[in-house]
Structure formats: C-alpha cells, structure tokens
C-alpha cells in the first residue's frame, strides 16, 4: 500500500520535473544565446517561445490547482481550509525571497552595466579621436602644400612617360602609391612602393569627378594591413596631354602616429559599439532574468500547491474517515501515509476502525440474539390462549400479544406506546375493561378479577390476573396483565351446576312426590268411609291440599329441569323484527295497547328461533303479569340497530307500565327463584338471561322514571336486511 502511494506521487511528479528540466535547459540556452555562443543564437526566438509556453503550462496548472482548492474550500471539503493556509504560507515563503532577490538583481544589473560606461571616458575617447584627427590634419596640410609643384611637374609629362615620372615622384615625395587617372577613369600610370601591388587603390568616382572640376580632395584612407594613409586626389593642369588628368596619391603616416591613431580608432569604436549595445544587453539580461524569476516563482507556487496538498492528503483522509465512522461506516480503512507521524496517525485510525468494526459486529450479533429471543418470546406469547398485556408505571401499553387483540376485538398495534385511556376514547366498549383494570395497577401483589364486557362478538367474561414487576432495586414498575375469555367456561360450569341441581331435585324431590301423592290418595280412599262426616271432610281437605301441593311441586321441578337442561342450540339467520312481530301478534288483546317501534333497517341475527321465541314469550308474559292489576295496560317494544366502536348489535327493549321492580330486588331479577309475583316459578327472567347469554348478548333491567319497568337486551347483529336487499 505504501509503495502504491509513493508510486502515485512519483507518477504525478515525473511530468512536472521533466517540464521544469526542459525549461531550465531552455533558459540555459537562452542565457547562452545572450552571451557569445553563436551555436544557439539563431534558436533564440524559439527558445523564447518554448519558455513562454512552459510558463503558460505552469500558469494553467496553478490555475487548475487554485480552482480545485477554491471549489473544495467553498464546498467545505475536509482539510481544505488548512490546505489554503499552507498554500498561502508556502507561496509567501517562496515569493518574498525570490522577489527581493529579483529586485536587487535588477539593481545590480542596471548599475553593473551602467558602471562600464562613463561620460568622462566617452569624452576623453572622443577627444583622443579628435586629437588624432587634428594631428593627421596637420600632416594632410603639409602634404597638400607639395601637391601644386608635383602636379605641375606632371603636366609636361606625356602619358607614355607617366610611369617613369610617377616612379620618380614616388621616390622623391615618399608617397606609398601614385596613380595618374585619365579620362573615363582610366589608369594612365601607376606606381606603388608595394611591389606586389598591381592595381591601385581606387578612389570614389565622385572624388575623381570633383578633382576633374578643379577641386582637390584630401582625406584619410584606412588601408588594409598597412594602416592609415592620406589620400590626395589632385587635378593635373593641362599640358602636353589634352585630356584632363587627375593624380591620386597615397601617403603613409608616421609609424608611431599610425599605431597610436589606430589604437584610438579601435578603442573609440569598441567603446561606442558597447555603449550602443548597452540597452540591448540590459534588455536581454532583464528578459532572461525575468523569465527565470517567473519560472522559479510559478514552479514555487505550484510546488506550494503540490506540497500542501500532499501534506494535507492524510489529514483530509483522516477527516473523511472520521466522518465516515461518525456516519456508521466502521469498515473505513485509509491509505497508508508513509512512515512519519501522520502515517502513524493513519495507522492508528485504521486499527481503531478495525476494532470498532469488530465490536460493532459483536454488538450486531448480540442484538440479533436478543432479537431472536424476543421473537421467540413473542411467538410463545402469540401462541398462548390467554391475552397478555404489559403496562409501564404510567399505564402506557408496552406490549400486547395477538390473542389479547382477538379477545377484546381490538387492533392493539395503534395503541402501543399510548396510555390505556386512549383506548377508551376510541372504543367506549372498552370503558369497563379500563375502569376495572386501572385500580388494580395500584395493587402490588398478584390479583385476579372477573370482568364482563360487551364487545364485538357479544358478551364476554374475562378472567384477569395481574402482577407488578419489581426490578432489581425493588422498585415497582411495569404491570403484567393476563386475561382469559372464560365466557364459555362459565356457561359450561353453570350449565353443569344447574344440571346437577336439576338431577338432584328430580332424584331427591320429584321421586318421593309420587309415593306422597299416592299415599295421600290411599289415605283418603281407605279412611274416608271410616270417619264421620266432619273428620272425613278434614281428611278430604288435607289430602286434597297434599295432592295439589305435590302437583305444584312436580310442576316446579319440571320447570326447573327445563331451565337447567341446556338444549342444543340451533343457530340460524333470523330477521329479528319479523320474529318479534310473530310472537307479539299472539298477545294482541282489547285491553292492551301494544306499541312496536321496530328499526326499519331490519336487523339480522344469528340465533335459535325456538329459544328466541321462548325469550320473547317470557318477556311479554312477564310484562303482562306485571300489569295484571292495572286498568290501562300499555306495552312498548322497540328494536334499534346500534354500532359502538366497530361493534354492531341490536338493542331490543320492552317496557310496561306496571309498578316496576322493587328497589330491594334490583340486580337479582335474573337469578332463578327471584320473583315478586304471587304466582310463577321465579324462572322466567332467569331463562331470559340464560337465552341471551347463549346468544352472546347482555340483558339489563331498569325502572322507568314515571311508572313501569324496562328490560333491554343487546344481541350481536350479522347485518341488516336493508344491507342485504338494497332498495
């Protein structure tokens, strides 16, 4: 990993170093071209272009780096602020010294080059030149003075003898070269002290033309390899020859004077040339220096970016890694950052995340274990036949198993985490349940309670048991409530109990009744003839009473047997209104005002019609018997389809205008053998209650406010006829 990192750095550095080396070579050549090397000078322009292109590449690289950094800074990327700071510091560290060096280099360059030149030196050189010229002027003047005599001697010399005459003159005057020029610049004769010379030094045509016109010319002539000479072009007066002739003479100058004048000329030329080139030289140096400065500067700035980013890379990785860990990515591993302190930090981070990842895995495993245990517990609770509910100390529902929901006909999932009261707010049928439970949560010991509810599916008897959980500190906390639907159990128990009573009654009471009755009849039959009339009448009356009472007792036992014997109930769909009409029609009498307010929606219930008929007969009979002594007999029957918190039922009520139930017997009317009537078995309302309970209903009795009593029955409804037969 570490070698990979190093290689990636190397890969990014290599092109950059290559560029810098190429640029440095180009600068070297550029600076050489400025000096004396002719080799590269013709490449100067191209080298300049290469250097500028290299600088442009550097500027683009820096620009890209800058753009990237600014984007990262704005986006708030980890480590970007520190990178910016580092870059600024590095750039300042690089730029300041380079700028100072550049400034002083410029100063030295300017002053250094300028110091080569001095006005005084220039002046002295010019003076020296002038002095030389003056000295040579004197020589020229001397020579020109001789010229009239020389040309005069030549005027009489014909062209044919001119050669000899010139040679003679050459010797006499000490001239270096003499040539006689005729018409059309033809060399008539020529004589030179240099015997190897075969052609004379030619003069300017203008000068010869000027001489032909009579104006002589005198001037200095630098002759190659020999030195400065005085050139005189002088017209030859017309003589033997008719053509206009011109004498050109070259006079050497004194050797010492020549050498000195030559030196002055050389130094003056060199100085003047240097003075002229001074600006160019400075510009060249300045250009090279500036380019080198820019290269160094940009390279330094780029290096600043590069170093800062390289330095910050592990820090950025660490920041990103920390963020990743904070977001829950414990598998984050950072690339190695070398052998330094940062590398150690990165290594530590990697170790840490590895350990966290291990711990996290362990925690997940434990959580999974707990989860599976919880699921197992839930499965156990879900498969219990009992409803289980836990409440915390604030009576907030913590857990409820599915059976609880089934028993109570409620979807408990929406009440989890809410208090018990919230159930009542939405389901009024649960009011009894909650009212019964709430005081029990204060009980610290185990408790048990029976609660009767009318919920969906009808009346239910719940056996609730509860306890308060005590935590390790002994503080009472959550409550566990377990409840069972014991409706059918109770019914079965009651049926069994009553069956046993009925069997006993039949066995213990009904069986002796027949011998009693027979014995009484036998007494009367055997003894009535043996007694006097008075005794016979007593016997007659007594045996009659015995027989009647025995009959009465037999009837009573039979009725009870009927009550206790639980016939097999045959449920079927019944139109409840229709059944009421059928039964009550039989009781239509002249002196009875029967009002029937039956629900037009015609409730359909699941019931045994024979048992329901018996229920209705018992109720109507009970009402009629209550109003026996009343002159104004009024009876009201009504049915009403109702729905309370998703629980649909029909409420049947029957009201009479009799004296009502005596207050002292309230709550006991539905128990067997509780009656206020003179006649009757005391089983009528008990049978009503039994039938209602068989049908999952509830029965309730109350006295009316003005006069009379009302019995209300609630039975679960399947549907209404209206729903089944839409109009």
């Amino acid at each position: 990993m570490a070698t990979e990192v190093r290689q990636s750095w190397r890969r990014s550095l290599l092109p950059m170093f290559s560029l810098l080396i190429i640029l440095l070579i180009a600068f070297y050549l550029l600076s050489n071209a400025t000096q004396n090397t002719t080799r590269f000078s013709h490449l100067y322009g191209w080298m300049l272009v290469i250097n500028l292109a290299g600088l442009l590449v550097l500027i683009i690289l820096i620009g890209l780096n800058l753009y990237k950094l600014v984007s990262q800074y704005r986006a708030g990327v980890a480590g970007s602020r520190l990178t910016v700071r580092l870059v600024i510091v590095f750039v300042l560290l690089a730029v300041l010294p380079v700028s100072i060096v550049y400034y002083f280099s410029l100063q030295f360059l300017q002053r250094g080059v300028d110091s080569w030149f001095d006005v005084r030196i220039e002046r002295s050189l010019e003076d020296a030149l002038k002095l030389s010229q003056v000295a040579l002027d004197l020589k020229q003047r001397d020579l020109i003075k001789q010229m009239p005599a020389i040309v005069a001697s030549l005027s009489d010399v014909p062209n044919t003898n001119a050669g000899l005459a010139l040679s003679d003159l050459l010797t006499r005057t000490g001239a270096a070269e003499l040539s006689l020029i005729g018409k059309t610049n033809r060399i008539i004769a020529f004589s030179s002290a240099d015997s190897s010379r075969i052609v004379p030094h030619r003069s300017d045509e203008d000068i010869i033309l000027q001489a032909r016109r009579g104006q002589y010319y005198v001037g200095l002539e630098p002759v190659k390899n020999v030195g400065i000479h005085v050139r005189i072009v002088y017209p030859v007066p017309a003589g033997v020859e008719s053509e206009s002739r011109v004498l050109q003479a070259l006079y050497p100058i004194d050797q010492r004077l020549n050498t000195l004048a030559d030196n002055v000329q050389n130094y003056f030329t060199v100085y003047k040339r240097l003075n002229y080139l001074r600006g160019q030289l400075k510009n060249s140096f300045l250009l090279t220096l500036s380019l080198v400065l820019l290269l160094s500067l940009f390279a330094a700035v780029w290096a600043a970016f590069f170093s800062a980013q390289r330095l910050m890379a592990p820090v950025r990785d660490l920041a990103e890694g920390t963020r990743a860990v904070a977001e829950g990515d414990y598998d984050k591993q950072l690339p190695a950052a070398g052998q330094n302190e940062l590398g150690f930090l990165v290594q530590s981070f990697n170790d840490m995340t590895r350990k966290i990842a291990q711990a996290s895995q362990q925690a997940q495993l434990s959580q999974h274990l707990v989860e599976s245990q919880r699921e197992y517990l839930e499965a156990v609770l879900g498969n219990l036949s009992s409803g289980v509910m836990t409440l915390d100390r604030r009576l907030i529902i913590r857990t409820v198993n599915s059976v609880a929901g089934k028993i109570l006909g409620l979807d408990f999932s929406q009440y989890l985490g809410r208090t018990l009261d919230t159930i009542v707010a939405a389901n009024s049928s649960m009011e009894r349940f909650v009212e019964a439970l709430t005081p029990m949560t204060e009980v610290t010991e185990q408790w048990q309670k029976e609660i009767i509810l009318f919920v969906q599916g009808g009346r239910k008897v719940l056996l609730c048991r509860g306890t308060t959980l005590v935590d390790e500190q002994g503080v009472s906390g959550d409550h566990v409530i377990v409840f069972d639907d014991i409706t059918t159990v109770i019914q079965a128990q009651r049926d069994a109990a009553w069956g046993e009573v009925a069997r006993r009654l039949a066995h213990e009471i009904k069986n002796p009744l027949t011998p009693i009755q027979l014995s009484a009849e036998r007494l009367q039959f055997k003894l009535v003839h043996n007694l006097d009339e008075k005794d016979a009448e007593i016997l007659q009356r007594s045996t009659q009473t015995i027989v009647q009472q025995v009959e009465s007792m037999k009837e009573m036992v039979n009725a009870f047997t009927d009550y206790a014997r639980a016939p097999q109930v045959q449920f079927q769909r019944i139109d409840f209104n229709q059944l009421i009409y059928e039964v009550t029609d039989m009781y239509k009498m002249k002196n009875l005002a029967m009002q029937r307010h039956l629900d037009s929606r015609r409730p359909v219930i699941q019931a045994d019609p024979a048992r329901l008929r018996q229920l209705l007969h018992n109720l109507v009979k009970n009402a009629l018997e209550a109003m026996e002594s009343e002159a104004d007999k009024r009876m009201e029957l009504s049915t009403r389809c109702m729905e309370e918190s998703g629980c649909r039922f029909v409420e049947f009520s029957i009201s009479d205008h009799g004296p009502g139930f005596p207050e002292e017997a309230m709550g006991q009317f539905f128990e067997p053998y509780i009656t206020t009537k003179r006649k009757g078995t005391g089983l009528g309302l008990a049978i009503v209650k039994k039938i209602v309970e068989e049908h999952g209903g509830m029965v309730h009795a109350e006295n009316l406010a003005d006069h009379g009593a009302r019995i209300m029955i609630r039975l679960p409804v399947i549907a209404t006829q209206q729903e089944q037969e839409p109009v």
Partner: protein, 195 residues
C-alpha cells in the same frame, strides 16, 4: 526609493516583454522612414571565355536601427547567395552549384569613412558617405559564377538572394535581430535562365 525603483524596474520589464511581442509579430516598434529592405533590381549572366559572369544591381535600404548600429561602430555583413540549379517538376530542384559573396560595411570613425570589404576576395574600399558605399556595394559586375563545363547540360537556372547576416552581428544584438523585423533584411529570390 526602493519602491519607486521597483516600479521603474517593473515598467522596464513590461517594456521588454512588449518589445518582444511587437518584434515577434512584425510590428515595427519605431516607425522608420522609407521602406527598409534589400532589393535586387536586375541580374543577368553572360558567358565569357567559358565562364558565366554575373552582373547585378542591388539596392540596400537600411532600417533606422541598422543605420544607428552602423554609425555606432557595428559592422554589417551582407550575403549574396548564388545558386545554379536544375529545375525539377515534382520534387525540389537539383542544385548544381552554390556560392555566396560576403560584403561587410563598417564605419571608420577616425577617417570618417565607410569601409566596404569583399570578404571573399579581401578587397577593401572606403567611401566618404554611407550612400556611396552602399551604392558601390550594390553594383556587381563580371562576378564569375560557374564554368560552363560544370553545368552538366542545358536548361540550368540561376537565382540570387541578398540578406543581412545576423550571426555576424555582435552577440547582444543577435537575439533581438532574430526576432525583430527591422533586422530581418532579406531580398526575394531573383531567378533567370542561364544562357
């Protein structure tokens, strides 16, 4: 002072870069009078004793900077390239012979003369004025070019071109001369058929 000094230096640096820019793209930094350049007005060859001799009329119009350099003691070297070639249709020409004549002009301050030297022959002449020197330098007569025997057939062409030799300039001037159009003095090729 350091700050103002720096400003001056920076100004100078900027000026240097501006000069480079102008020079490279051929924008004259200083407006010069006339059109400086080298022109070949006429050129011809004639056969004499089996040798082709060249006669040509050249015109030297120096730029202001070149004149300034010349008067400051810088010698200017000109090259007359002469090429005899056999023209070919699809590929480059076949050069039969090539020679160059070099002339140098330099100002002699002491004598106030312009010295023109033929570097090939070593012949040196001096002239009182620059114009005379340049005129004389531009007049070339009877310059031997090639022996007829060496031509290797008929239909040969000859072309000449005159140029300032930058490599012969003093070193500090050379870089500028390479990038400055004022210094890039060069004539077009002048060509004719050898008869």
């Amino acid at each position: 002072m350091p700050l103002s000094g720096l400003k001056i230096k920076l100004g100078q640096t900027c000026r240097v870069f501006l000069l480079i820019f102008c020079a490279w793209f051929g924008i004259p930094a200083v407006a010069a009078g006339g059109d400086p350049g080298l022109t070949i007005h006429s050129a011809s060859t004639h056969l004499e004793k089996g040798v082709y001799l060249l006669d040509t009329q050249l015109e030297y119009v120096l730029s202001k900077v070149a004149i300034e350099a010349l008067d400051s003691g810088v010698s200017l070297t000109f090259d007359l390239d002469i090429e005899v070639y056999k023209p070919r249709k699809w590929i480059w020409n076949d050069t039969v012979a090539s020679l160059s004549q070099r002339y140098r002009i330099v100002y002699h301050a002491l004598s106030r003369q312009y010295i023109v030297t033929n570097l090939n022959s070593g012949v040196q002449n001096s002239y009182a004025s620059r114009n005379t020197a340049l005129l004389t330098m531009g007049r070339i007569e009877n310059l031997p070019v090639i022996d007829k025997k060496l031509l290797g057939g008929e239909g040969r062409w000859v072309r000449i071109r005159l140029s300032l030799v930058i490599n012969e300039l003093p070193a500090p001037l050379r870089p500028w001369a390479y990038i400055n159009s004022d210094w890039r003095l060069k004539s077009e090729w002048f060509e004719w058929q050898l008869k």
